[in-house]
């Protein structure tokens, strides 16, 4: 705990930054109610914090490497402030703060407290936009939120996302299933992180955060899964011989009707000819 407080003191100099979310998120069901889905990831190593939104405590005792469940928050503008756990916000400077963070109605947002490329704590809101996926496919999104240089992400030894820099993100659509992924310094085969087995859920967006600090040798991965965007198979072709077609063709019904009609006409004409005779 002592080291945590020491770390917190070092963070006090972090500047206040103004942020606004790209309002790319299309309206979803929650748009009608004026709320947004918000998750928060704590990716600043070594510091347990309290997170405040508009001067109210939102997340107490928030530990590095943890992710909140998605919450429904009213859409609007938020002043976010991160304090060392247990600190009195009235008398303490925030370790990190971001004023005027816009949370649009219907958006699905992950706010990440992390280090920038130079190692200073910062807050970055990412909008989660699961891609439309064909059946059997998964979306892998990687977000670089570590104090580290540009990286490439490899899956099964093959680069799938290249040249990613803090606080950037990139996505790729891959077959669902388990992949062995690692992070290498951009353009090299020098492994910075991993490999780790990642379970890429079918029809969902798996977001992988590379966080921590290369200098402090505490780089780590965090994951978040955002569902939606999947598809059902295009069909179930499961017969080829016609043996199960026990039905009578439609013409049998038509012929039956014609035969009945013909019989009625015949009976009528016979009766008439008898009456005439």
């Amino acid at each position: 705990m002592r080291s945590t407080r020491a770390r917190a003191a070092a963070l006090l100099a972090a500047p206040v930054v103004g942020l606004s979310l790209p309002v790319a998120a299309a309206g979803t069901a929650s748009a009608a109610t004026g709320s947004a889905t918000v998750s928060v990831l704590h990716a600043v190593p070594g510091l347990t914090v309290d997170v405040y939104a508009n001067a109210s405590e939102l997340i107490p005792d928030f530990e590095p490497g943890t992710l909140t469940d998605p919450q429904q928050l009213p859409a609007g503008s938020y002043d976010l402030a991160v304090y060392p756990a247990g600190a009195d916000p009235a008398s303490t400077q925030p370790a990190i703060s971001a004023n005027g963070v816009q949370v649009p109605a219907g958006a699905n947002v992950t706010v990440v407290a992390h280090l920038d490329a130079a190692g200073a704590p910062t807050l970055t809101p990412f909008v989660n936009t699961p891609a439309d996926l064909a059946a059997g496919q998964a979306e892998l999104t990687v977000r670089h939120v570590a104090a580290a240089p540009a990286v490439d992400v490899r899956a099964g030894g093959q680069p799938v996302l290249t040249g990613l820099t803090n606080p950037g993100e990139a996505s790729v659509t891959v077959p669902a299933g388990t992949v062995s992924a690692d992070v290498v310094l951009a353009g090299t085969t020098q492994v910075a992180l991993g490999p780790a087995d990642l379970s890429l859920e079918e029809g969902a967006e798996t977001i992988v955060y590379a966080w921590g600090s290369a200098e402090a040798a505490n780089l780590a991965l965090a994951t978040q899964v955002v569902s939606g965007g999947g598809s059902a198979p295009g069909g179930v072709p499961s017969g080829e011989a016609g043996l199960a077609d026990g039905g009578w063709p439609a013409w049998t019904a038509g012929a039956g009707g014609l035969a009945l009609g013909g019989a009625a006409l015949l009976a009528l004409s016979v009766r008439r000819s008898r009456a005439a005779a």
């Binding site: 004026g34 709320s35 990831l41 508009n54 109210s56 939102l58 997340i59 107490p60 928030f62 490497g65 909140t68 469940d69 998605p70 919450q71 429904q72 928050l73 009213p74 859409a75 609007g76 503008s77 064909a134 059997g136 669902a176 087995d197 379970s199 079918e202 029809g203 992988v208 780590a220 991965l221 965090a222 994951t223 059902a232 198979p233 295009g234 069909g235 179930v236 072709p237 499961s238 017969g239 080829e240 011989a241 016609g242 043996l243 199960a244 077609d245 026990g246 039905g247 009578w248 049998t252 019904a253 012929a255 039956g256 014609l258 035969a259 009945l260 009609g261 019989a263 015949l266 000819s273």
Partner: protein, 231 residues
């Protein structure tokens, strides 16, 4: 002609009745749907109270919201979790229909349709549907017939009755039992996507082909879909 007429009319009438009656008898039935027994309804997994607490009221978009949820927000360790194998189906049994078929895990082919095992005696578990016992539909699909082998594993599915017991054997040796609650035919192009859902009550979904067979394209018009609930 005049002498034949009295015999001709009843003969025509009889054959008309026979043709219409036969067609009516042989047409596919509408299936059935019965409410599952209360015990069979799996309790949906609810979010923790803290995470589910809705905001009291949505303020105008421009105003700064002043009341974030007061309850403690649920959180978890975000480190990647090593993939945990779950028991998957290896055998399907429907004693009343004489079905006892091995099950393969399958996905979709290059055309995006479900890869039903080519061997008509085998059944496919759609690996991206729910594992048995997990929320949502566990989809098993098998051929009604194949050119090579004639009737397939699910040849009798269109005749299944409500309450029929269906057993799924898993690769950990356990068996899960289900009772049939619904049978429906859907035109192939209108197979409901919600059959493949991975949320809601745990349900077994059996799919094969049925309805009219088109000799030109060598395909059936419909999918026969049977749902069964855990017992």
């Amino acid at each position: 002609m005049r002498r034949a007429a009295p015999l001709l009319a009843p003969a025509l009438a009889l054959s008309g009745v026979a043709l219409l009656g036969g067609w009516w008898q042989a047409r596919p039935d509408d299936g059935f749907s019965v409410a599952p027994a209360p015990a069979a309804v799996a309790a949906p997994v609810l979010a923790t109270g803290a995470a589910a607490a809705p905001p009291a009221a949505a303020p105008p978009a421009a105003a700064a919201p002043t009341t974030p949820p007061a309850a403690v927000v649920a959180r978890r360790d975000a480190a990647p979790v090593p993939p945990r194998p779950v028991p998957v189906p290896v055998r399907l049994r429907v004693a009343d229909l004489g079905v006892d078929a091995p099950v393969d895990a399958v996905g979709v082919d290059a055309e995006g349709v479900l890869e039903v095992p080519a061997d008509g005696d085998r059944v496919g578990w759609y690996r991206w549907s729910a594992a048995p016992g997990a929320p949502g539909g566990t989809v098993l699909a098998g051929h009604v017939d194949t050119l090579a082998e004639g009737p397939g594993a699910l040849y009798e599915l269109a005749a299944v009755e409500p309450g029929t017991v269906v057993e799924v054997v898993l690769d950990d040796g356990s068996t899960r039992a289900y009772a049939v609650v619904e049978r429906r035919s859907h035109p192939k192009s209108e197979l409901p996507a919600e059959l493949f859902t991975r949320s809601g009550p745990s349900t077994l979904v059996l799919v094969t082909c049925g309805g009219r067979f088109d000799e030109e394209t060598r395909t059936y018009a419909d999918n026969v879909v049977v749902r069964a609930s855990p017992v």
